[in-house]
């Protein structure tokens, strides 16, 4: 089943075509990598898929949690998230002055059943659901080994844990499709290895489809099943890691001539 | 931990003590005054306070009242009704004053009249001209004439002395003083048989009156009535002349001090006032000389009114022979005395019955603007 389909999407920034005629399909359970040199338009694609930007032309379709195909081209980010697509950000965007636990609990908000009045007057419905939310949030933190830091402010976590928390927070929205924007940026090789394991683990555990932007070639080549390469806002190659890494266009675009991406 | 708690305990103790600190019987008669010592109209408030203080000093030098010295307690209200109320509570609850002079602006006085009446505190405002100020009841007095009288005075003067038949009005709609004068001028002028050809308004702080003046000019008035304070008048006058209008302008006591604050544009204009510092009257001369000596500035009309208010109150306490507010109130009603701002008697609404002076702005021998007496209008 196709989870996400981008049809010929393009976007203009002040006359400049940042992404042109981008096409992509993402099948359920797939782990797709989106790579390309700096400024190739990867994050812009992400932003269009998640509703932060709206494409100037083209359409995006997303099969939501209930299996219904939705045209999300002009939807707002929160609507798309509620349908089952979650994301992380290239430069971590945590709720810095809130606790680790609250960062997660916020993600459960759009499913909250109790009303403002229940909260204000502290009805039993409030206590019951709050306890449930907290329990779920802590359980999620345990997976990421962050439960012992639940009372700390997000900004006080070390960098690697902030990355992990951001992924945990995205998972808390209950997505079927997860978009990761350079999750390994700034990590050392050991942390990257751990991250790879983690991504594989959550993919299994939460039955996720994953779209990944990454610079770290080891990570991309190691876990992605399929890769799309962008340059100057256009797709220049698509295929398995092996196919892509041997593509002369890709090599040229990425690092100039004669560079082996496996190095 | 311990330190924190001690600190907390200390704070609580201080608060409690400051709350229950009582007051004791004093050997003086306490008079309170609420004036805007800071804020937008502080210039008026300070002069009024100084004049009141001067009057109290004189009275004390002459043996005080009922054998006791008067003690003046000044509270600043920043011309904000909220602060006036707070000051009133402080004066009545903490200082336990016998009577209060104030407040200066009508909106501030109006904020406390109801409570002063309910608590039977004799209140005399020196300069709140709004008609409704004394409506709250028999304990509220004022030393100045009110807006309706002043509006009528101007209308009468314009119609009878200036022989104007077509008048235009430009007023500040956000200011009750300006509005009160406007409506009374209009009523009286029309009653006399004149025609109001244009009424235009602006808001406090406006700088550009060209749009309104363009309309006023088009209506071809013979006189322009601008009831506002001098600072705005000087600005409006420039634009009036800038539009090529040469008709005389006139206004109320807010024009007081216009001669020090405007250019030649206001020559030939008229305004009503409570007194003229240049008057030959003995009382006026004595007051002006003394005030100048003491504070190095020529007292404006509000200072004169404050000075009179203090004397009215002191005389009434003396006459009442006690500090009982009801007796003081009765004595106030019997006030019948020549003072700096004229001969003062109170009518049944506790407004003074006195005449208004019309002044004309002229160029003095020294090239500076000054005023000359242009007539007296009786109530």
């Amino acid at each position: 089943m196709t989870v996400l389909r981008a049809k010929d999407i393009s976007i203009l920034f002040g006359g400049l075509k940042a992404v042109s005629n981008f096409n992509m399909t993402l099948e359920e359970g797939e782990l797709l990598g989106l790579i390309g040199p700096n400024g190739a338009g990867k994050t812009t694609v992400f932003n269009m898929l998640t509703g932060v930007y709206h494409p100037t032309s083209g359409e995006i379709e997303f099969t939501d949690k209930n299996g219904k195909v939705q045209n999300i081209t002009h939807m707002k980010p929160f609507q798309i998230t509620q349908m089952g697509m979650a994301r992380t950000f290239q430069n971590i965007r945590l709720f810095k002055d809130l606790t680790v636990l609250d960062n997660i609990r916020i993600a459960y908000h759009f499913n909250v059943k109790y009303k403002s009045a229940d909260a204000v007057f502290r009805t039993p419905a409030f206590f019951k659901e709050e306890a449930e939310i907290t329990r779920k949030a802590v359980a999620l933190l345990e997976i990421f080994n962050l439960e012992h830091k639940q009372a700390e402010l997000a900004k006080n976590l070390p960098y690697g844990e902030q990355r992990k928390l951001e992924i945990a927070r995205a998972l808390a929205t209950g997505p079927k499709l997860l978009l990761l924007d350079e999750p390994a940026a700034g990590m050392n090789p050991q942390e990257t290895q751990d991250l790879m394991k983690l991504i594989r683990f959550i993919r299994e555990k939460f039955n996720l489809t994953i779209l990944l932007i990454e610079h770290d070639m080891n990570l991309v080549m190691g876990i992605c099943e399929r890769i799309i390469v962008l340059d100057y806002g256009q797709t220049i190659a698509e295929g398995t890691p092996d196919q892509v890494s041997k593509d002369p266009l890709v090599m040229k675009a990425y690092l100039g001539e004669g560079v082996d991406l496996h190095a | 931990m311990l330190k924190n708690r001690l600190l907390l305990a200390g704070i609580i103790l201080v608060l409690v003590f400051s709350l229950i600190s009582g007051c004791n019987e004093s050997k003086t008669i306490k008079i309170g005054t609420i004036q805007p010592i800071s804020g937008q109209v502080s210039a008026y408030g300070i002069q009024t306070r100084d004049a009141i203080a001067m009057a109290i000093e004189e009275i004390n030098a002459n043996g005080g009242v009922l054998g006791k010295k008067l003690e003046l307690i000044v509270e600043d209200d920043e011309a904000s009704p909220e602060k006036t109320t707070n000051a009133f509570k402080k004066l009545t609850a903490k200082d336990k004053v016998v009577a209060i002079i104030g407040a200066l602006t009508s909106k501030c006085t109006l904020a406390i009249t109801k409570e002063a009446q309910a608590k039977k505190v004799v209140l005399i405002t020196s300069s709140s001209t709004n008609d409704t100020v004394t409506d709250a009841g028999e304990f509220i007095f004022r030393a100045c004439y009110n807006d309706s009288f002043q509006g009528q005075v101007n209308a009468k003067f314009a119609y009878e002395t200036l022989k104007a038949r077509r008048a235009a009005i430009l007023y500040d709609i956000t200011n009750d003083y300006s509005k009160g004068l406007m409506s009374n001028f209009k009523a009286k002028f029309e009653e006399l048989g004149g025609q109001i050809v244009a009424i235009e308004s602006y808001s406090t702080g406006d700088k550009d009156f060209n749009a309104q003046l363009t309309k006023i000019k088009a209506s071809q008035p013979e006189v322009l009535f601008i009831p506002d304070y001098y600072s705005t008048i000087s600005l409006i006058a420039k634009q009036v002349r800038g539009q090529g209008m040469t008709i005389p302008m006139m206004g109320g006591d807010g024009w007081d001090e216009i001669t020090n604050n405007a250019g030649d544009e206001v020559i030939g204009c008229y305004y009503s006032n409570h007194y003229s510092p240049d008057s030959d009257d003995e009382d006026v001369k004595a007051f002006v000389t003394k005030f100048r000596e003491k504070y190095n500035i020529t007292p404006n009309a509000l200072a004169a009114l404050g000075y009179d208010a203090a004397y009215i109150l002191a005389d009434a306490i003396e006459k009442a022979g006690s500090l009982d507010p009801v007796k003081i109130q009765q004595a106030m009603m019997e006030t019948d005395k020549k003072m700096v701002t004229g001969y003062i008697r109170f009518n049944e609404k506790r407004n003074p019955v006195k005449s208004a002076v019309m002044l004309k702005v002229v160029k003095g021998a020294d090239g500076k603007l000054t005023t000359e007496y242009a007539g007296t209008v009786n109530p």
Binding site: G14, V52 | G205, D208, A218, L235, K238
Partner: protein
């Protein structure tokens, strides 16, 4: 005087007022363009500029020469003040939450106003601003005073000068670069701090000029005189498209004309309400303003 004459007269009044708003709006727009901050204190710079001019004209009398001197003194003083404010109050907050910078800007604004009140040489009472004696040039029934002409001409000249600086000098290029992408400009070797200071100086100098022209047209100076023109100029900047220099000029003229026409034909009471009505309307219909570009935040 018929409707047409009155209309033309109000248009003349509006153009003169509008040119002052335009000068002031330029400062808002430039500062916003470069640091994304509404400089609430901008209107108060106008006041300081007017007082700068006041002291010169009061000391040396009013002649064309002293008027130019007053303009120069006011502009230089305010340029310095602008830089000082930027360095001390805004620069430390460049990376803080926006609300903090906004609150600081409010604080600076009130500080300048009330500070001017308590300073002896300025004080709370309005002062008469020395200005040329009004000479009228009637064209038919429409009256144009020479002050209106001076205001208009000086404003237009300054706007041309600014446009030249921004579009045709190296500094202007650097300003545009910083406004477009600050980190990139920094990487290109542009001294970003210096350019931001320069922008504040330029905006403040224009505000000072606006202040002196404003005070010449409405010859009175007092500490709170900048608030209302400041607000209206801000609306003008938004109307024209905040960040856009031609937009600020256009917005200024529209605001000036809208205001005098409202006063003249509807109600003087509504003049301020109209200004904010325009603001709300523009925010609903086209938040980017007439000449502004739609810019979304970087993610």
């Amino acid at each position: 005087m018929g409707f047409l004459h009155e209309f033309l007269q109000q248009m003349v009044n509006g153009l003169s007022l509008g040119s002052i708003y335009a000068l002031l709006a330029l400062g808002y727009t430039m500062v916003y363009g470069i640091v994304k901050l509404i400089n609430f204190a901008h209107g108060d710079i106008l006041m300081l500029g007017a007082f700068g001019g006041f002291f010169v004209l009061a000391a040396y009398g009013v002649t064309p020469l002293t008027f130019v001197l007053a303009l120069l003194v006011g502009m230089i003083v305010c340029a310095v003040v602008g830089i000082v404010i930027e360095k001390t109050c805004y620069k430390p907050l460049r990376n803080a939450p926006r609300i903090n910078a906004l609150i600081t800007a409010i604080g600076v604004s009130i500080f300048i106003e009330n500070g001017a009140r308590v300073v002896k040489v300025i004080g709370p009472n309005p002062k008469e601003f020395p200005t040329f004696k009004t000479v009228n040039f009637p064209i038919g029934d429409v009256n144009i005073s020479q002050i209106q002409i001076i205001v208009f001409v000086v404003s237009i000249a300054l706007m041309f000068l600014l446009t030249y600086i921004v579009n045709h000098t190296k500094l202007g290029k650097a300003m545009r670069a910083v406004s477009f992408d600050r980190p990139a400009a920094y990487l290109m070797g542009i001294n970003v701090d210096w350019i931001i200071s320069f922008t504040f100086a330029l905006g403040s100098a224009l505000a000072a000029a606006a202040g002196i022209l404003f005070a010449s047209a409405y010859p009175q100076v007092e500490p709170y005189m900048g608030i209302i023109p400041g607000l209206k100029a801000f609306v003008a900047a938004v109307l024209g498209g905040i960040g856009s220099i031609p937009g600020a000029m256009l917005g200024g003229f529209i605001m000036g004309i809208a205001e005098t026409l409202t006063k003249g034909f509807i109600s003087s009471q509504l003049a301020d309400a109209i200004a904010f009505g325009i603001l709300i309307l523009i925010l609903v219909v086209k938040p980017s303003g007439i000449l502004g570009k739609n810019v979304s935040e970087k993610v």
